[in-house]
Amino acid sequence: MITNFQVAYKNLLRKKVRSLLTIIGIALSAWVLVSLLGFNHGYETALNRDIDNMGFQLMIMAKGCPYEAATMMLKGGTGFRYMKGSVMEDIAKEPEVEKVTPILMQAVFDPNKGESGGIAGYFGVDPKSFVEMKTFLKFRQGHWFADENAYEAVMGYEAAELEQREVGDIILMPEKNIQFKVVGILNRTGTQDDGTIFVPLKTIQKIFKKEGEITTVGIKLRKDANSARLEAKLYNLPNVQVVSLAQVKETIMKLISTAKVMVLSIAIIAILIAMVGVINTILMSVHERFQEIGILKTIGAMPWDIFKLIWTETLILCSSGGILGIVLALILSRISDVVIRSILPYAPSGGLVLIDIKLALITFIAILCIGLLSGLYPAWKAGRIRPLEAIRNETGR
């Protein structure tokens, strides 16, 4: 027996180009939709990963613009402000604090970086406390510094790749003409650590004549600690500002919401266009088959049978378009990633467009629902065709 689906499928094959164009329209809107959902999911995941991988939940910085402070920590930057390292002792006394680690960020101009030179960032870290906080950092080669005054460097994965360094190589800090021996190269983490050069805190303090001074204190909180209460207390410390990474995340997400609204608008417009395309295609098909539908009724089809047939055609178009769009989105997610990255003010490291089975299913169901809605009117119209009118009227309608 021939099924409703087979009849519907073969009907769509009559006008192959028209059906194909409609499927492409649906596929494009599915692509935009699943990429947008993937972006929403991926961006937040990447940002959370970046922040979690910092190893601490709060940062104390010398007073200045909080956005600058956040960006400085996330991307590295210049124009540092300094605070006394002794501030750490007060912070460590707080009951909510589990661990603290001092960091001194410094930047020098490297004439060999890029075409016209660039800024090279160095993170002075305390070998003991920093390593305790960043337990997830694993070595591809080598190990951390032998002692806190050593002229040794640990390079992030990308920094080492970029400069083609191996353990045992010597790197030169430009401007200061100081040599460091590479003692370790980290595995890829997918965070900004990949592009960082770590050196012992005391060494970098000595080189830049900043003994006793630091730019940042990283604070790891105890489990179930009241972060808000600690933040309130830390605000009382003189000449420092508190940056909660939860706040940083919130701020960045706010900045990014504009881009999200823009992409969402595009997705909605694309979906509406696809809906109109589907309605048009199916209505035209019903119009062309006016007589044929009438004949189907004379051979036993009830209005509901015709409704189902036309609806099935809509569903075939939408499900094919939906699947094609999702597959396209999966294949081209790297390109979507690059495009989105180019228009955003700040993008965390790692994949920004994260499409998983759940998102693909949600998109597919959404496209099917849109298809069902789009098919309602043409299917209802076809179901109402009276056989006699169809037979009498060659051109019908």
């Binding site: 027996m1 021939i2 099924t3 073969k10 007589q291 189907l296 004379t298 036993g300 089809a301």
Partner: protein
């Protein structure tokens, strides 16, 4: 089979169309009784109301007045108006239709076209009907062809098979040979005649062609919405030449 059992009975069947302020009586007070296994032809000039009458008999539309019963079951009468849904239910239980333009689905094969009515409704006992009908109509060797790949006569044979697949009691044929040449027309009427004879199918055929009409057991003529049965000399006068199938 009881040869005199009533298949279809119309009493004072009337259909009036209103066009602007003008009322057109397409079928005017028509009464006729068709027995099971009858093969009847309805002839008449264009606009005489033959197609409208067949549409009423085939429950494709409601009459303006009059009664229609199928066997002992009353369909129309006493101002009863049936919805499209009710009409469809009656049609698929009782009637098969063939038309001048065949109306086969171009993307479905011959076999699929014949099976199409079963997608919507299947009477018990029709499981093997499709292939049996195609064999009966000499179309089994063409079952995988598309309509565009077969001749007009073959298309009408497929349309007949499609009309017969749910084993209807009555086959309505509205100008079934209108698009065919003389040879193919004779073949189609021959097929209808065989079905009528072999499976005791009641056939109601509308045609312009008086030679073909002569093949029927009973011959009716319609003029200006009125019907009269032609018998004896009247029938011979209308159908002068014999027909070779």
């Amino acid at each position: 089979m009881n040869a005199n059992a009533v298949s279809l009975e119309a009493i004072s069947l009337t259909k009036v169309y209103v066009r602007g302020s003008e009322e057109i009586k397409a079928v005017n007070d028509v009464s006729l009784r068709i027995n099971k296994g009858d093969f009847i032809s309805i002839i008449g000039p264009s606009g005489s109301g033959k197609t409208t009458l067949v549409n009423l008999l085939g429950c494709l539309e409601n009459p303006t007045a009059g009664e229609l019963s199928l066997g002992s079951k009353s369909i129309f009468g006493r101002a009863k108006y049936l919805s499209e849904r009710d009409l469809t239910k009656i049609r698929r239980e009782t009637f098969g239709y063939i038309f001048q333009n065949f109306y086969l689905i171009p993307t479905l094969t011959v076999m699929e076209n014949v099976m199409l009515p079963l997608t919507f409704y299947r009477k018990p006992g029709t499981e093997n009907e499709t292939l049996r009908l195609l064999q009966l109509l000499g179309m089994d060797h063409r079952k995988d062809h598309l309509p565009a790949q077969i001749s007009g006569g073959e298309m009408q044979r497929v349309a007949i098979a499609r009309a017969m697949v749910n084993m209807p009691e009555i086959l309505l044929a509205d100008e079934p040979t209108g698009n065919l040449d003389t040879k193919r027309s004779a073949e189609i009427v021959h097929v209808l005649r065989e079905l009528n004879r072999d499976v005791h199918l009641t056939v109601i055929m509308v045609t312009h062609n008086q030679e073909l009409a002569r093949q029927a057991d009973r011959l009716f003529e319609m003029r200006d919405g009125l019907i009269s049965e032609l018998k004896g000399q009247d029938r011979s006068d209308r159908c002068l030449q014999p027909l070779s199938p």
